[in-house]
Symmetry: C2
Subunit: 339 residues, 2 copies
């Protein structure tokens, strides 16, 4: 195999919003395989909000993405050549191949490459509803919010890959589910396609009072659980409508990703409402993945868990698609299709 591998490297760290100059497209010949290695051709590259954090070198839970190396990222593809007895050409696999067309993988390392069955679940879904975003939603909902039937659960970024899963899993548990998303198209899709009870277009409610009022109207019995992807004013507004013993699963705070201040205005509500606010990173809870993937895979295979995808074409378009994701231009899972 002597294919040319097109790769995207992190060229520099953004100040504020990331831009095209932070990335660099390079072409590298694919190296011959050593024993134990597998060559994977990527069909889909996953784009996720967490990548914005890795581009910075601020102290965080994960090491920053090194400069001049292939951007980190989840990938789904097909084995095209194997020197590993556990994999053969034609196997469909998911891994963390990064922003490139091919990856040479030391497949003996536990967990770096998983074979997946595409009989009933499309390959791309393993990067979304039956992958990291789905498990993220499952963990925050099931393990932190732990909703009871009849409770009200609010989900921000409801039209995103994570939020869509959260809402449908909560509906399956007998909850009233209210999404928050940007724009009428997303809101319509969240209600009509994903089956949320209501969806609030945050662009229509631009201050705390208005958003809090919209939440009051949509959640007449108050809010028992909140899955947080955004932060800032939305978090304040939800807290004003929280019931006693409400739980907030903090998954993301995209409102502050470019360094904007996003203070929590009334932390005393955590006390007066006896709330629990808990942050989590799904990769630290690998023990929960099998149970989560089993439920998510079954729901997708039987058509009970819906999801949307926004697909960019070709590795060169990955940065633009990523900027769009950060601005909420996608609906559902943002992918880059490479084959």
């Amino acid at each position: 195999m002597s294919a040319i591998n097109r790769q995207i490297l992190l060229a520099s760290r953004p100040k504020g919003e990331p831009s095209a100059e932070n990335f660099k497209l390079v072409e590298t010949p694919v190296a011959p395989l050593a024993d134990g290695q597998v060559l994977v051709r990527h069909h889909f590259l996953s784009l996720d909000p967490y990548m914005r954090g890795r581009m910075s070198d601020a102290k965080s839970y994960a090491a920053p993405q090194p400069l001049d190396q292939v951007m980190i990222g989840g990938t789904a593809g097909e084995v095209v050549e194997s020197k590993n007895p556990h994999f053969k050409a034609g196997d469909k696999v998911v891994g963390m191949g990064g922003w490139q067309e091919y990856a040479v993988v030391d497949a003996d390392q536990r967990g770096v490459l998983q074979k997946v069955d595409t009989t009933h679940v499309p390959l791309s879904a393993y990067l979304g509803a039956v992958g990291m975003p789905g498990v993220t939603g499952w963990y925050g909902l099931v393990k932190i919010i732990a909703p009871k039937a009849g409770e009200t659960v609010v989900v921000s970024s409801a039209a995103g890959a994570v939020g869509g899963a959260v809402g449908q899993l909560a509906k399956a548990r007998g909850c009233r589910v209210v999404g928050i998303a940007g724009g009428p198209d997303k809101c319509r899709s969240v209600v009509e396609e994903l089956g949320f009870d209501e969806c609030i277009d945050y662009r229509q409610f631009t201050d705390l009072k208005a958003m809090s009022g919209a939440l009051k109207a949509a959640c007449p019995d108050g809010i028992d659980g909140y899955f947080e992807n955004v932060g800032g004013m939305l978090l304040d507004a939800v807290m004003l409508r929280a019931n006693a013993f409400a739980r907030i699963a903090m998954c993301g705070m995209i409102a502050g990703y470019n360094g904007e201040p996003i203070p929590m205005t009334l932390p005393q509500l955590i006390l007066t409402n006896r709330m629990k606010v808990e942050g989590f990173i799904v990769s630290e809870h690998m023990e929960a993945w099998p149970e989560a993937l089993k439920e998510l895979g079954t729901l997708v295979a039987t058509g009970k868990l819906k999801y949307r995808e926004t697909v960019a074409q070709g590795i060169a378009n990955a940065p633009e698609a990523f900027f769009g994701l950060l601005k909420g231009k996608n609906q559902g899972k943002q992918l880059v299709k490479l084959v």
Copy 2:
């Protein structure tokens, strides 16, 4: 019995800091007992920060203190007359008798009056280390922070009745314990008498950077657990030094009791540090009281749990003592001695 009962009523609700005019001292004859009732003469009245919240009629977890009625409050005293078979004159009891010298108690109601044994534990301690403040500290530490030996626990209002218990219970569990208190006398007492490893005088560190630096110096391995009685800048400073998976038990936020804004500046740290922040009210966890009181009572009776008391004399001085408590003038448990 035809004693005169001196009582303090809430006369008006404070705007900002409470003042003497919010209270009114009245004299009322003690009514004759009906069947099942007990007349208790109060020896000690407990003053606690939560009372400030009850003086306001803002939405909160508890109903506001009604105007023109006896201020709510825990009391310890002695039965002087009984028409209830379970109590006799001379019994030492604790209850919620309020700011008055005597209380007529319908003692058949479960939980309104408890007999206590003063052989090894002084009566006043049942309002402090072996009472609501002690159990409050126990619950937040044991059930929310759940510290492991070797971890670092920080306690604000460390010289108060709750904070003092938290720190000593954490020391007994093998933790490094750092208090935060106001002034050199309190800090010395917290270290020398209560056995904390260090105590930071917050008056010496008046901005976020300085306080965060002081915490860094006192907690070289970071902060794993924080017992919050204050809020505001202290909470921000602790969060900047929190370790991954740190737990914050929110018990009080006295910095905001008079309506001052106390935003949490960097809520995104809850996410990046995968923290848990949980508010609680100890009266909602009655199932935990027996275990807590058993440990606290044993520790006090054997001299292993130290506590301080600040004692005002006479019912007429209760309001001034309460204002002092809100300003941190007390050390340890603030009581009013009535007999």
